[in-house]
Amino acid sequence: MTSLSERLKNLGLSKGSEITVLAKKDTRSLVDELNASTITNDLGKIIVVEKTFPYGYLHGDIQLVDQIDTTEIHKTSKLNGINCNLKKIAFLDTETTGLSGGTGTLAFLIGVGRFGEQGFHLTQYILEDPSEESSLLLALSIYSEEIEEIVTFNGKSFDLPLLKSRFILNRMPVPFTHLKHLDLLHISRRLWRQRLPSRSLKDLEHEILHLPRTEEEVPGWMIPELYFNFLKSGDASLIKNVVYHNAMDIVSLAALFIGITQMLNKDLFYYDLDQMDVFSIGQVYERIGEYSKSIEIYEYCLKQSTFSKNFMIELNNRLGCIYKKQSQSDKAVNLWKNNAENGDYAACIELAKYYEHEAKDTKTALLWTQKADIIIVNSKISRYKKNTQKKELHLRRTRLEKRINGNV
């Protein structure tokens, strides 16, 4: 009888890379290697690493503080603008066996951090054996009992759904469904979309916090493989750097949270902020409908000379739209005219609309459509987009022309 492996080979199956069986090294245990402790709960045992970063500790440019007003960051993230007690917030990040998601992806390290009595207190739960997952999850549930809010980076689409899935698979209640969740990825994207080419936590750490990592750091893509190899060989040293990586991620998350909160709380115009960031903050407020604040910021930006032509156009348009919504057409018209002179199609259309519907000046409206027409012809946008714009413009023009001819 041939073995299954031979049979499959004969059927043409090429085996994935033959794994080298890692020799069981007679190394130190996970607890010793990580300087960890083992805790037990109703469902079993779990390994925990704990560490405290005292208040005043500098993480890159950011100093850890024990109090901060979180009203603005909550408001701009559309989480009722309340000042949540900083000490009730858990900063969470997981290390997993893959990025593809689905029920076959495991979170083998769950790290959580909180501001406590002595400073920022970090707790990392580590799964030594997948069969002990339920006690890991229970540990997180118990931890969550004193929490009102979770802060993550990309947790909305990754960490939290994954953890939820793990709880369901272990037939346990999901402990965080009632908690507020603030995903820093989203606000970071809005704040630095225009200034930075990438908004990953790693890049923000570098660009915003100005923090270097030590040689203990491992790149994220290596982490699943290190864990698999640890499970196969029992070599706990493989996990050490993963624990460092996770710890740094969480402290950076907390630091970023403090950084953004401070940015929003400060008086923007006297504080030494990148002008682009000021403009972005204006957009953040525009998005949540706080127009008075965004008008204030945009008007301030208009007076700066640091913006390129393209940004000025965007600025004028944004401001114009807000003025239009607030029925301050005269202000809007000036801004649009500025843009139109700089060859902006959208502004011409806005002007045409304004003259047709509000000023009831059909002839001027027609002039603006003609100007828009010239802009399109010379613009370098995709042909598809060009055609739709042309069609739209054509409708507007014929309507206006009809009206003029009718009146004559």
Binding site: L4, S5, R7, L8, N10, L11, G12, L13, K15, G16, I19, T97, G98, L99, S100, G101, G102, T103, G104, L106, D129, P130, S131, P161, K164, S165, I168, L169, P224, E225, Y227, F228, L231, K232
Partner: protein, 842 residues
């Protein structure tokens, strides 16, 4: 008399048409006996159907919903348009009214069908206003569903319509986000199960194993409702797919209008070669009769290419009505397809020419007439297509236009087989190792395997082997009593449900420096279809293959202006690994077992398109291809060979070798030094024979046959042996051709699903003459196993066709064309068949 009936009378009187009609059967209209809605059915649902004008059920519907209600898994295999959908719609909606949490999942083989069914559900739900939020109750969840809608569908919809691929790749591996849906899962509907055969079916069976495993995790035990076209074994197929006891409902209680079924056999234009008028010509001629009389007609073609050819041909013949003549196949834009479907419904299109894309239940209302250009490959499919004719209960006609293929000709002569319940079985093998392995990976990803668990009907002993193998491979790790998926891979994304071969070669067409992908072929086919120098045909266009890079998986094609086609030269070697079953008869030994087929494309021939002349042959260096599979083979006994030898005299017709034969013969003997070129014996008292290497009757002219290179001196003994070997080879080849071509009568399969091989001295079978038929899928899928068991039936069908064929020496419609060495011995094949069927081998 209606206009349509008059039309039928007219064509019956039209000699050019009617004299080629091989069969005409009129099935008289059938009334339906109404059955009341059962009393357990919720009032609101009954009211809904009443207001839709449905006041009663057909017998099979009544029976089906009662079976389902009784908690039984049910398969309904009644005719096309017999109202099968109601059989699952009623139980699902009824259940939902009684328990608003209950859910159901419905699997359809194509996306188009899914959307059609959604429309049907929506109509019932909106007519009845049964639920407050009726809009979100039923929803399609497939690859086209926008991602921003998916969350809402998962949370709110109770009736999910999807396809197997989506279940495999997106739903099962993420079952936790469907936890509420699975907790309340009451029904699983699998539509059109006759399509789930072979590799596809074996994959579906494993997919169901996974689905049931997930359902069990959430504590639900859903029932199955399945539908099928009419095949030989719906009950068996259904219970193989779901691995549970299933009730089969086959008696069709729906009313039928008068139906005419006609077989048209195109006229023979070359009697000796057995060549008939081409399918293209016959089909376009007949379609014209319909077009002129304004009878709305749907033509089914076997390939997309044929659709295009026929559209062009018919439009050219009817330039004034080109707008009413439309093609329909996959590859057309969705918008165009909707337009054609609409045109068929409202009558603005009078002739649609389609592939099987229109075969499954897309709603086109029903046309007056259906033409089938060639037998579609299975009786189930023929019934489906023919069933497209008949608007409500009006009379209709379906015409099968027979091609030259043996199966078509078999039916032209034996139409009764088309009218009876078909013999063709849909076979699957859920435990095919390669298919199984992929699904065990996915299942382990979905939920860890527990020690001593099973996977469907696969018990722990076997399952453990696979799990241990996957541990060795490093994707699973066993911790305590469980096997955990510990790999970054997403296993469901790694394979296709529709074929076993995952490596595909992309075909890139290069034109003026611009490269565009025009399709793909699987790795094995690439070796013989797109080797360097090959002429590759697609959609009626010829391409020249410039390079084939097997590592990168790319073939570069350019435009071909050549006046030749290419034919690969393939050397095949067979090894029998183990003989699993054997039956011994006087004249042959029938064996079944595991074999290894090693094939290698060693070169190719260039063949002139018109004259079929071989222009040249070239060598190729390509890797060999090994296939381990299952097959059955017929080994002729010593006695059988003896009988063939003793009869070999009457088998040879005297040939007229030409006036100069005597002198040619003498000079060949002289050239060969009057010595037998086989055994080396010299001539003594009798002069030796001169043998034609390529048989005389296979060559076009006497001159060609008598060329020196084709002649060799042999002693009478050797000559007889060589001739006999040749005759046996001819007989075996003819038999091989018949067996492979008629196999689809018994098992549902495509011509590419079976491979075949003949050898007068087979190394793997005692150096005896052998004909071998095997599954062309690694490890086999049960085709040859079933044929082994039913060999008597199959051989009888072969003899039936052979005896009925009018050709003289063999033709493409029986033993194969007479163009190649060792093929086309009609007499030899016929004699061999009589020997094989001599005793009762039942």
């Amino acid at each position: 008399m209606t206009q349509f009936d008059e039309f039928l009378l007219r064509i019956k009187k039209y000699p050019d048409f009617f004299e080629n009609v091989a069969f005409w059967q009129t099935q008289i209209a059938q009334q339906a006996q109404p059955f009341p809605f059962p009393s357990w059915l919720h009032n609101r649902l009954v009211d809904t159907f009443n207001s839709m004008g449905i006041n009663s059920l057909y017998s099979h519907q009544f029976e089906a919903i009662n079976c389902v209600k009784g908690g039984m898994n049910t398969v309904i295999s009644t005719g096309t348009a017999s109202g099968k959908s109601i059989c699952y719609q009623i139980p699902i909606i009824d259940q939902l009214i009684k328990d608003q949490k209950s859910s159901a999942i419905l699997l359809f083989p194509t996306k188009a069908l899914t959307y059609d069914q959604l429309k049907s559900f929506s109509t019932i739900l909106s007519t009845g206003k049964i639920f407050e939020n009726q809009k979100s109750i039923a929803a399609v969840y497939d690859g086209d569903t926008p991602s921003q809608q998916r969350n809402a569908i998962r949370n709110n919809s109770k009736i999910i319509l999807t396809n197997p691929d989506m279940l495999n790749v997106a739903i099962l591996p993420h079952h936790t986000i469907w936890s509420e849906f699975f907790q309340n899962l009451k029904y699983i509907v699998i539509d059109e199960i006759h399509l789930y055969r072979g590799v596809f079916g074996s994959n579906i069976a494993n997919l169901i194993r996974r689905l049931k495993r997930v359902a069990v995790f959430y504590g639900s035990s859903p029932r199955f409702i399945m539908t099928s076209a009419t095949i030989a074994n719906p009950k068996e197929l259904a219970s193989n797919l779901i691995e549970e006891e299933t009730i089969s409902i086959e008696a069709d209680g729906s009313p039928k209008g008068e139906k005419n079924f006609v077989i048209y056999n195109p006229p023979v234009i070359d009697k000796d070669l057995g060549i008939r008028e081409s399918l293209l010509t016959s089909t376009s001629k007949i379609s014209e009769l319909f077009l002129i009389s304004n009878i709305q007609t749907l033509i089914f073609c076997r390939t997309r290419r044929f659709v295009e050819l026929l559209v062009r041909e018919i439009q050219a013949l009817n330039p004034r009505s080109t707008k009413q003549i439309r093609g329909y196949r996959s590859g057309y834009l969705k918008k165009d397809r909707r337009e054609i479907e609409e045109g068929l419904k409202n009558g603005s299109i009078s002739l649609a020419i389609a592939t099987n894309a229109l075969e499954l239940g897309i709603d086109i209302g029903g046309v007056d007439a259906v033409l089938l250009a060639g037998y579609p490959g299975s009786i189930a499919s023929l019934h489906q297509r023919a069933g497209r004719s008949g608007r409500s209960l009006n009379s209709s006609v379906a015409i099968l236009i027979a091609s030259m293929n043996p199966l078509d000709q078999f039916f032209a002569r034996n139409p009764k087989y088309l009218m009876e319940r078909p013999l063709e079985q849909a076979l699957i093998d859920a435990n095919n190792p390669l298919i199984l392995l992929s699904h065990i990976k996915s299942a382990a990803f979905e939920l860890p395997f527990e020690e001593s668990a099973n996977f469907g009907l696969l018990n722990w002993t076997h399952l453990e082997e696979y799990l241990e193998y996957l541990c060795e491979e490093g994707v699973l790790q066993k911790k305590k009593t469980r096997y955990y998926w510990l790999s970054e891979h997403y296993p469901s994304g790694d394979f296709s449900l529709r074929s076993t071969i995952s490596v595909r070669i992309l075909l890139k067409y290069e034109d003026d420096g611009v490269i565009e992908t025009i399709g793909d072929v699987d790795y094995n086919s690439a070796l013989w279809m797109t080797h360097p120098g090959a002429i590759y045909l697609q959609d009626g266009l010829a391409f020249y293959v410039k390079t084939l890079d097997l590592e990168k998986g790319i073939a570069i094609l350019t435009k071909s202006q050549a006046d030749y086609l290419t034919e690969p030269i393939i050397s095949v070697d067979i090894d029998a690994i183990s003989q699993l079953k054997v039956k011994t008869f006087q004249n042959f030994i029938l064996q079944y077992g595991e074999i290894e087929v090693t094939s290698k494309v060693t070169g190719f021939k260039k063949i002139q398109i018109i004259t079929r002349e071989i222009l040249s042959a070239e060598n190729l260096e390509l890797p060999e291809n090994r296939l381990q599979t299952t097959g059955f083979w017929i080994e002729l006994t010593e006695k059988c060979v003896g009988l063939m030898r003793s009869k070999s005299i009457w088998l040879s017709d005297p040939n007229d070798y030409g006036r100069k034969w005597k002198s040619i013969r003498d000079s060949v003997r002289n050239r060969d030094n009057f010595t037998c070129q086989s055994c080396g014996r010299g001539e003594a008292d009798v002069s030796f024979h001169v043998h034609h290497k390529i048989p005389f009757k296979m060559l076009f002219s006497i001159e060609e046959a008598n060329e020196f290179g084709n002649l060799v001196t042999l002693c009478p003994d050797c000559h007889r042996r060589v001739e006999l070997n040749f005759k046996i080879r001819s007989g075996l080849s003819g038999l091989k051709y018949l067996l492979t071509n008629l196999a689809p009568l018994l098992v549902l399969c495509d011509s590419t699903d079976l491979g075949s091989y003949v050898d007068p001295n087979a190394k793997f079978s005692n150096l005896k003459p052998v004909v071998l038929i095997y599954d062309s899928i690694p490890a086999g899928i049960g085709l040859s196993s079933s044929l082994y068991e039913r060999i008597y039936e199959l051989l009888k069908k072969c003899r039936e066709l052979l005896n009925q064929c009018d050709c003289k020496v063999g033709c493409p419609s029986c033993v194969g064309p007479t163009s190649e060495v060792g093929i086309g011995g009609k007499k030899e094949t016929s004699f061999l068949l009589s020997l094989l069927l001599e005793q009762d081998i039942k």
